[in-house]
């Protein structure tokens, strides 16, 4: 039986957070209120999404200090500790795209992959910048109008309505369209966290000596360009696009991968 330790931990975290948010509305809990856009932890600590905050600022509105402080706290947390962990440990869309990915493998769709040349992984960074420009032009936080992430989260807290169609669209796009299409190519929030999380200290480490080059990690990784060192070098995965999801660690049968702390002493060895 394959190890699913980190997969389970992530699902517990993702669903647990949604339960807390849901309870805040349904039962008046005060542990974690609001949505990802802006939340309140334990009734005191403000949290806010950095990209949403940037979009609102781009419209020209001077935001309240709670949101600015909240965005700073979140930014520092992922910059120093978590890396791009929001995407795999918090974001509810991750469960949708993971399901699509798993089905792709089961249905052998990966093998028949069409080469969508127009869609590059760097598209998300263009979209991230574009979202800010459109926010400034139209005068409303532009990504928030169609973000499947907050639509899904609000759907769970307040009820979906027709918003469920956006979530289904993402699922179908990732399943039948581009592999890792949403999280790995388009999502500007993921792009933001990729940039923020570049410097974090929690990193996946690779032990080249133990590796048997089975490449299970590369098959399961949603951002497998970050695993360029597999069976080549014993270094950390330092690319900001790594979501620290730990699936590679789960599927590795050789103990060649594991979470570790980024080493600052030896630059060449990371």
């Amino acid at each position: 039986m394959k190890n699913i330790k980190y997969l389970l931990l992530r699902r517990v975290t993702q669903i647990g957070l949604l339960v807390l948010y849901f309870g805040a509305n349904a039962y008046g809990w005060t542990i974690l209120k609001g949505t990802f856009g802006s939340s309140l932890l334990f009734g005191v600590i403000p949290l806010a999404d950095p990209y949403t905050t940037l979009q609102v600022l781009a419209t020209g509105f001077v935001l309240g200090s709670d949101v600015l402080l909240g965005a700073l706290i979140i930014t520092l947390f992922y910059m120093v500790v978590g890396g791009r962990a929001f995407c795999s440990w918090v974001c509810p869309i991750n469960m949708v795209t993971d399901l699509a990915n798993w089905l792709r493998r089961k249905l052998n769709l990966d093998k028949e992959e069409v080469n969508y040349r127009f869609l590059k992984r760097r598209a998300r960074y263009w979209i991230m910048v574009l979202g800010l420009i459109v926010s400034a032009i139209v005068g409303v936080a532009a990504f928030e109008v169609l973000s499947p992430i907050t639509i899904m989260q609000r759907g769970i807290i307040f009820g979906f309505g027709a918003g469920i169609s956006v979530v289904i669209a993402i699922f179908l796009f990732d399943l039948f369209g581009v592999k890792n299409g949403w999280c790995g190519h388009l999502c500007p929030l993921g792009a933001t966290y990729s940039l923020i999380g570049k410097t974090s200290i929690i990193r996946v480490k690779h032990d080249h000596e133990a590796c048997t080059a089975c490449m299970e990690c590369k098959i399961v990784c949603p951002e497998n360009q970050v695993l360029h060192m597999i069976n080549k070098e014993s270094i950390s995965v330092t690319d900001g696009e790594c979501t620290n999801c730990g699936r590679c660690i789960d599927v590795c049968n050789d103990d060649a991968l594991g979470f570790g702390i980024r080493s600052f002493t030896n630059k060449t060895k990371h």
Partner: protein, 277 residues
Amino acid sequence: MANSSNNRRKFMATTLQSVGLTALGGLLWSGYTDEAKAAKLILRPPGALPEEDFLKACIKCGMCAEACVNRDTNIDKETGKQRPGTLKMAKGGDNKLIGTPFFAPRDVPCYMCDDIPCVPVCPSGALDMPSLLNAKKELDINKARMGLAIVHKESCIAYWGLQCDACYRACPLLDEALTLDYQKNDRTGKHAFLLPIVHSDVCTGCGLCEKACVTEKPAIFVLPREYSMGRAGDHYVKGWDKKDQQRVGERNLNKIETKTKRSEESPMDYLNKGVEY
């Protein structure tokens, strides 16, 4: 050498493609977003900034709606259970900007809580607390201007001469925001009309009147103030009211005089010219 110029050409082409696709995406995205925010007949929570600014400022966190539904007073007195909240978060299919709070008084009106739980929780400033503070710096829900109730006379049964004062009795600012005008009913010769009159300087737009209205489709209903109010403009001043002169202030002739093609001619000429519509 040939290779490097090849690379440069490829780089130029892919850059051009990226810029082009980004421009295309930007056009589609702007168009969609502009349409998505266009729904304007929408009632916002108390203290909300003017709609344009509100749409910029709202971070769609839903804390106002959560505070609204979970307030202590939101208990059904008969069943002892929690009632649905006034504030809803716009969903896909509501045809309102998704994720923003609104209320529909015919379903659930605003009950005008004294402590206004929905406003202080707003982290972004989209719900502007200072606008709801009175002279003593206390929260005062009567300062809210969520909308303005208007009466459709032809469907209001009180205007038919039937005895109904449901809206008047439902109004939390009874006899201030909503008064009854007593008039003689000439049809019967011995009854009175009790006509509801809304006063826009007091009405908060809570919608309790709309909720209480007995007609099939409410004859009194709340619209955003921008849509339920007119404006006389600077042409007209109440000469008998000293304060009204202040409203107009120093009249700027350039600003208030109507300028059309006709007004370029002398009055004698254009008055004799006849009118084309």
